[in-house]
């Protein structure tokens, strides 16, 4: 659809995982699928944060933000060596 995809880091409230899921990663996948059929997980984070990274269009990112348990959806950022 031409909309520019970008990488987003998604924070999830781990304690809000529905009981129907027995793994957080499956819950993350399901939440992501609700916002975008085609999006794939780039990373699942377990220690540094609870969440994942994925490629979405801005509209999909907005839609994901409305999913239960989603705390924030933040765009990719550049860093540099000092």
């Amino acid at each position: 659809d031409g909309a520019q995809q970008g990488t987003y880091i998604v924070h999830m409230a781990k304690s809000q995982m529905p009981s129907s899921f027995d793994q957080h990663s499956l819950w993350y996948e399901s939440s992501l699928k609700s916002a975008s059929e085609s999006a794939e997980m780039l990373y699942t984070y377990n220690s540094a944060i609870h969440g994942f990274a994925t490629r979405l269009t801005p509209e999909e990112a907005d839609s994901l933000m409305t999913q239960p348990g989603v705390i924030s959806v933040q765009p990719e950022q550049q860093y540099e060596l000092h």
């Binding site: 990488t7 780039l42 060596l81």
Partner: protein
């Protein structure tokens, strides 16, 4: 590194300070950077015992990298590229290694600075020759490649932190920062560092190279140790000779055919270019060969790298180059591996040389490379580029925390790039000399590993406290450390608590400890809402609405007081006795009498180890206007001082920074 261990007092006569076997080689330093060159001698595992049983990391294979490239020194190597490939598409493996292999040199340099094995006869083209070794040369190293040829992306960096925590590193060394300044503590290095701290992992980060401007820091969260850069007692002098008989000392790492033993025609780039605006910077394509051929060229620093300026001058037929420091870098002399006889000079010399080359009817010059000079004084001086406070997110938390060697540091290098880093530089070296807070950070990471090996029970906050309260901010003659940007005394906004002093940090006497809950209380004091707190801490912490939280109560080993009105500002601190029984008396030093600093109680008596005692500091500010003479600095009116506790054997010093905004 060569020379730095001696400069830090870690040389042989202090060898007994840190055990060379056992505990010291069970500490694992995780380095988030551009990867590693595993063939470097700095990662030899000769004499190492088996990998610590607690280790869960791996050695990931990829372009030109297999699991056999790891060993009992380099015990982990991973790479994180999906964010980068999301932006640029799949890595072109003919151009960069889709593996932990370091194509840049930066990661090899920082990893070997922190924990490189001993290598005799290390040098760069003969410069800085000596026995190279990492600060914690017995520690193990695990590298997490998160930076790539073109960029570093936070989704990859966060994945690196995530994995390093799961792999069980003890120390995390992060010599990188966000391009844009963070406005709160929810940037992802900060969040990742919080998770690491919770697991007892010490996190040291570079403070950034955006100095000497104030408010120029990166990585300024209180659970991160923010490291600025200073010089050591070694220079690489080069003489700039002028036709009027004058000569000026600059710096250079040029190795090659010397200039002819005579003065050569000398021209300023501005007069050798047809680009009125940018010609003076010696950018590619701006020099006119007819005006440069056979001459020495003066270029102005800024815009492109100094080594690239040299490449431009050489390509235009120039025989040598003199670069004048950019104005705000003052007398700083970083040394560069130029491709032609060249030197960069400080501000004063630059002004004089520029005046000469522009006004003299027949200017001539030459350059003499002088090699390596040691026992240089005064040292350390604060590096001009080292980012400065105040802390722009929380002015009442003093940052940077401390400084460590970060100028002209020799350490291991990649085999994929020459020492200048220029694509045209076909030389290959085992060690290189570069500068930045990227270099000072791994020094502190290494020191933290040494302390961890001696005090495995110490928390990350305890380690940082020991490094800060024993740091020095004056020379042996009592004069304050100099800031090379101004050649005037540095301040705690430049050097934090001061320059690290490892031999003292082992037994600091008292420490300022902090727990996860203390940091959560700090976030509550900043009025973080529930979702922000969950984001930073992943935990289900909540702020107690009935409780009064204050930033001033964060048990930090330094004091920053941001004065917005005449008032009294109270700070509470709790110190833990890690020395023997003793009675500590307080001494308050302040530049200004307009702020009264009182400490209650004035004596703290300890009977046993791990006993805790609290004290309260009251800053009474008579007027909201800054004191008459308080020094106006770009960051506003500031006044400094210190609060020191001593039992006659230990001095537990904390800097005080008072600022009127």
């Amino acid at each position: 590194t060569t020379r730095t261990p001696l400069f830090l007092g870690l040389d042989v006569h202090n060898a007994g300070l840190f055990p060379e076997t056992g505990a010291a080689s069970d500490v694992v330093i995780g380095v988030l950077d551009s990867g590693v060159w595993p063939e470097s001698k700095s990662f030899s595992d000769e004499g190492y015992g088996p990998v610590p049983t607690t280790w869960k990391g791996e050695c990931e294979a990829g372009t030109n990298f297999t699991a056999s490239h790891c060993n009992r020194k380099l015990i982990g190597a991973r790479f994180f590229v999906r964010g980068y490939e999301g932006e640029y598409g799949l890595v072109d493996e003919s151009k960069e290694s889709r593996s932990p292999r370091d194509d840049d040199g930066h990661g090899t340099h920082t990893a070997s600075t922190a924990a490189g094995s001993v290598v005799e006869g290390a040098n760069l083209l003969g410069f800085a020759n000596g026995t190279a070794r990492g600060i914690a040369y017995r520690a193990r190293v695990a590298v997490y490649k998160v930076c790539w040829k073109k960029d570093c992306y936070i989704s990859d960096i966060l994945a690196g932190i995530d994995k390093a925590i799961a792999d069980n590193v003890n120390i995390l060394s992060i010599s990188l920062g966000s391009i844009n300044k963070a406005t709160d503590y929810t940037d992802h290095i900060t969040i990742g560092a919080f998770a690491a701290m919770e697991r007892g992992i010490f996190v040291s980060c570079s403070a950034g190279n955006f100095g000497p401007s104030p408010f120029s820091l990166r990585n300024e969260a209180p659970w991160i140790t923010t490291v600025g850069a200073g010089t050591i007692d070694r220079d690489f002098p080069a003489l700039a000779l002028l036709g009027n008989g004058e000569n000026y000392t600059g710096a250079s790492l040029f190795k090659g055919e010397a200039l002819p033993a005579k003065l050569l025609p000398f021209v300023h780039a501005r007069k050798a270019s047809n680009n009125a605006t940018y010609g003076k910077y010696c950018y590619p394509g701006t020099l006119i060969p007819e005006r440069v051929k056979g001459k020495i060229v003066m270029c102005e620093e800024g815009g492109n790298d100094n080594v690239e300026k040299g490449e431009v001058v050489k390509a235009a037929g120039g025989l040598g180059m003199i670069i004048a420091n950019r104005p705000n870098y003052g007398e700083e002399l970083q040394a560069y591996a130029f491709l032609l006889p060249a030197a960069n000079v400080g501000l004063k010399a630059g002004d004089i040389i520029r005046q000469y080359v522009i006004t003299d009817p027949n200017p001539t010059a030459s350059i003499v490379i002088q090699g390596t000079a040691v026992n240089v004084q005064p040292s350390p001086v604060l590096a001009a580029f080292s980012s400065r406070g105040p802390n722009s997110i929380t002015p009442n938390i003093l940052k940077p925390d401390l400084i460590a060697p970060g100028v002209n540091i020799l350490a291991a290098w990649t085999g994929a790039l020459g020492p200048s880093g220029l694509a045209s530089d076909t030389r290959r070296v085992e060690f290189n000399i570069i500068s930045g807070t990227s270099m000072s950070c791994p020094h502190v990471s290494g020191l933290a590993a040494l302390l961890k090996s001696v005090h495995p029970e110490w928390s990350p906050a305890a380690i940082r406290s020991a490094l800060m309260t024993t740091a020095y901010s004056t020379y042996k003659d009592g004069q304050p450390l100099l800031d090379i940007a101004t050649v005037k005394p540095s301040t705690p906004f430049g050097h934090g608590a001061g320059h690290v002093s490892p031999a003292m940090a082992i037994s600091p006497g008292l420490i300022y400890d902090l727990t996860t809950e203390d940091y959560i209380d700090f976030l509550c004091a900043l009025k973080y809402n529930q979702s922000q707190i969950i984001k930073v801490s992943r935990g289900d912490y909540t702020c107690d609405p009935s409780k009064t939280y204050s930033v001033a109560d964060l048990n930090y080993p330094s004091f920053a007081v941001n004065v917005d009105k005449s008032d009294t500002y109270k700070y509470t601190r709790t110190v833990t006795n890690v020395g023997g029984a003793g009675s500590y008396s307080v001494k308050v030093i302040s530049e200004t009498t307009e702020v009264k600093i009182s400490v209650e109680p004035a004596v703290l008596t300890f009977k046993e180890v791990n006993e805790k005692k609290s004290y309260e500091v009251t800053f009474t500010v008579n007027s909201s206007k800054p004191p008459r003479f308080s020094s106006f600095r770009p960051s506003g009116f500031n006044s400094f001082g210190s609060i020191e506790w001593s039992d006659g054997k230990h001095v537990v010093a904390s800097p005080v920074a008072i600022s009127w905004t």
